[in-house]
């Protein structure tokens, strides 16, 4: 544990040192490869002035809203298609087909439908996340061991009660995986959308950096994007997944 930690620290320190040496060698201009201290300076300045915080706030708000919508749509959709064969044959097959479409491909359609506004971005985020959530829920529900269903029925659970207290918790490991994947798809879709269709947010800052030839800003914002992604992954989804795995005993050998 401790050894791993120092391994990691050493590795990143090593990376920064190499970066420092190469950037200060004068081989490449600043707008191609800024030095680490310049990126750090840009980051500090951007945070202090509130510019980055504002963009972070806007992006995270979009992300949360889009993700929440995806949950509200995706989980019931997955449950229904998992439970009813005819829905699975129809809507389920459509979901599988659309899943192959990178979500940014929805942007042109979204812009024409909703116009240059917040709703267009949200639509792209939802299209990125909702299908993986729905499909994971669907397969989780379909793959519940028949033994659990028989046992639940025998203990007196029927209909909605059986679904809520047996099928849904039994499908949870699969659903949690879908939630995690859905989150990362939502985050990617949002960034792609913000890059192409500029409307504040972190993607907007990235494009501004490019237009001003300000590579330090580009790298600083990329850093922020990574940190936000890691933050939610580690603090929310990995914890949730670990918790489920521990309960079910998946981590045992």
């Amino acid at each position: 544990m401790v050894k791993n930690f120092w391994n990691k620290i050493g590795f990143y320190f090593f990376l920064v040192v190499i970066w420092y040496i190469v950037a200060n060698s004068g081989r490449w201009p600043e707008y191609i490869l800024p030095a680490p201290e310049e990126v750090l300076q840009n980051l500090a300045q951007g945070l202090r002035s509130g510019r980055y915080l504002l963009a972070m706030g806007i992006s995270i708000r979009r992300l949360l809203l889009g993700y929440l919508l995806s949950l509200v749509i995706g989980i019931p959709l997955g449950m229904l298609t998992g439970k009813y064969y005819w829905l699975d044959e129809t809507i389920g097959s459509l979901m599988l087909a659309l899943q192959t479409l990178p979500s940014i491909c929805w942007l042109p359609l979204s812009l024409l439908w909703f116009g240059l506004n917040e709703r267009a971005i949200l639509f792209v985020v939802v299209m990125g996340a909702v299908l993986s959530i729905a499909l994971a829920t669907n397969s989780g529900v379909k793959n519940v061991a028949p033994l659990y269903i028989r046992a639940g029925k025998n203990l007196g659970a029927r209909g909605v009660v059986l679904f809520l207290y047996v099928i849904l918790p039994a499908a949870l490991p699969s659903i949690v995986m879908g939630l995690k994947q859905g989150w990362s798809f939502a985050w990617r879709s949002l960034m792609a959308g913000e890059l192409l269709f500029i409307n504040l947010g972190l993607g907007h800052l990235l494009m501004m950096g490019r237009e001003l030839n300000d590579m330090a800003q580009v790298m600083a914002v990329m850093f922020v994007v990574v940190v936000i992604g890691l933050f939610f992954d580690r603090l929310v989804f990995s914890k949730m997944e670990k918790n489920v795995r521990r309960r079910w005993g998946f981590d045992q050998t």
């Binding site: 046992a151 207290y165 005993g249």
Partner: protein, 292 residues
Amino acid sequence: MSGVRALPVYNISAGQEQEKNASFLAKEEKDLLPDRPKLEIRNVSKAYMSARGLIHALDNINLTVREGEFACILGPSGCGKSTLLHLIADLEVPDRGEIKLHSSGAREEPGAEKLIIFQESALFPWLTVLENVVFGLKLRGAGAKESREKAMHFLAMVKLADFVNCYVHELSGGMKQRVALARALVLNPEILLMDEPFAALDFQTRESLGRELEEIWVRTKKTIIFVTHNVEEAVNLGDRVIVFSGHPGTIKREYALPAGRPRTRSPFLDEIIREIKNDFQNFGQQWGEATC
């Protein structure tokens, strides 16, 4: 038996073989078998469609189980005995015939009529041992405190009071089946259906669980139908052994066994075991081999 077939019934009076060797000889024969029918199975048949065509799982089964009886259904794998349990538990519907359960009047407590204990652990892995046991009570709207007390009582009965907060994967196979037993008993079922509950366990665990089950049965006076393909197990546990044969599943023979408990091995029981094993050779069954 209102039988199409004449079934030889071997009636052996209690006490002939084992008299006072029992430490918890709680029941006299008359208490043990009050001769009140608990479950009546009449002309029940069931067939399935499979890839190889129609399979007659059960053909015209007639069976009466008395209140408080420990009935063992013995037969090779694939002879339809699990199907019969599923039919009794309402998990499937018979093609013909009827199954009637005589409930013991109105129940003031939340409970279930027919509870089944499966071969593999059907405990819910997302719940702790205690949560598994209170599951059925909660469904019936029982209060949290009362449910917990009841669950603890039965968990103590199966000697798992120290494991209430464990998750299922932390338990051994034998412990899982004991939790399953507690989960069923806590609902005070009219009849307990056990579908080869110890088949996946090693020999020693199976023996000791058998003895515990016998003890619990004496204490709770439950009607039990116990399905097994193990001749020794059936003869060691049952008041009556009902021998099945497969294709189609029919009752071949019945053996009534001495009532004294705990049952100890005796030359007499060994004789019955030998006889049943002989029977199976005569039926032309491949004993112990799956036929699916």
